[in-house]
Symmetry: C2
Subunit: 204 residues, 2 copies
Amino acid sequence: MPQGRPVSVPDDGLSTKARRNQPVLAVHTGTGKGKSTAAFGMALRAWNAGLSVAVFQFVKSAKWRVGEESAFAALGRLHEEQGIGAPVEWHKMGSGWSWSRKQGDDTDHAAAAADGWAEITRRLANARHDFYVLDEFTYPLKWGWIDTAAVVETLAARPGSQHVVITGRDAPAELIDAADLVTEMVKVKHPMDAGRKGQKGIEW
Amino acid sequence: MPQGRPVSVPDDGLSTKARRNQPVLAVHTGTGKGKSTAAFGMALRAWNAGLSVAVFQFVKSAKWRVGEESAFAALGRLHEEQGIGAPVEWHKMGSGWSWSRKQGDDTDHAAAAADGWAEITRRLANARHDFYVLDEFTYPLKWGWIDTAAVVETLAARPGSQHVVITGRDAPAELIDAADLVTEMVKVKHPMDAGRKGQKGIEW
């Protein structure tokens, strides 16, 4: 992307530097591909800039994203062993959240999703990470498992400069209103339309 | 993304496995963010799956994407030192292509872009890499610096299972027709609209 220029300068009394450090809430929505992939690309850039990354996958199945999880695990080890980049954590709902005693209990998805959000709320309050990916987080909002108004309130009140990227179809209007950056991924053409199957390294 | 099912099975005589290994030509276009970021996210996944990655940046300025370049350099070193992932190469037009004698000569952008495509043509013919990112490649096509018909022909004839992702606004119709996967990134809301500036770790 070519370097952008602000179309207007807000009358908020902030210096350019202070404005630069404002935390970003980004939403990737729409029915096209690339929502999560772009979020992980942002996380890669954040990692490189020394921002600690935490991914929370709000999906039932742990089958997908194994490629990204493995790659980010390698990046996290790079940080531990050579001091470059930043720490990485990866948590997923599918097999039971890592901090939860209910390991492997994914029978009650609504409770598991709420548990995930409760933990994220605690981490945001403590400014535990610099860059959060809440992958497929729009679905528990859509299904009413997590209250969107509470999410918007918590995100608005988060301290420090914690960046948050939320992915998934059908992002609620309240969340879009609260976000700084919203991109809709629109499917123009997809290989599965032509009967192709997903393949390793490309789809997962 | 939930696991997809083909909506139809093509009558091409290929087994599922053969169809899985078909090379993908993907295009990320539109005016929204995430086109390149999603391409780098795909490259990260490919790297993790052991596919060698080569990035070619068709941009004048080498200022942007430094975060991604640095992160992929770290991944390339991980492969060299620990044998995980796959090799990574990163080439950019801005400061003169690395293979070119005209180092630092970026006065003739049209010639530099054509030189970049000529090299990619040779590499595709030799199946040198597994996964190519042609970043911002739509612009030299749009500006007539590189012939779109020739690009489509070369891509259609590429041997083996070399995956190619092309990013940039205003992808030509011929390229979209030739692609297997096309996603349009649509800007819904952007922080620069509110006068914010880009910031390290987020924008670059």
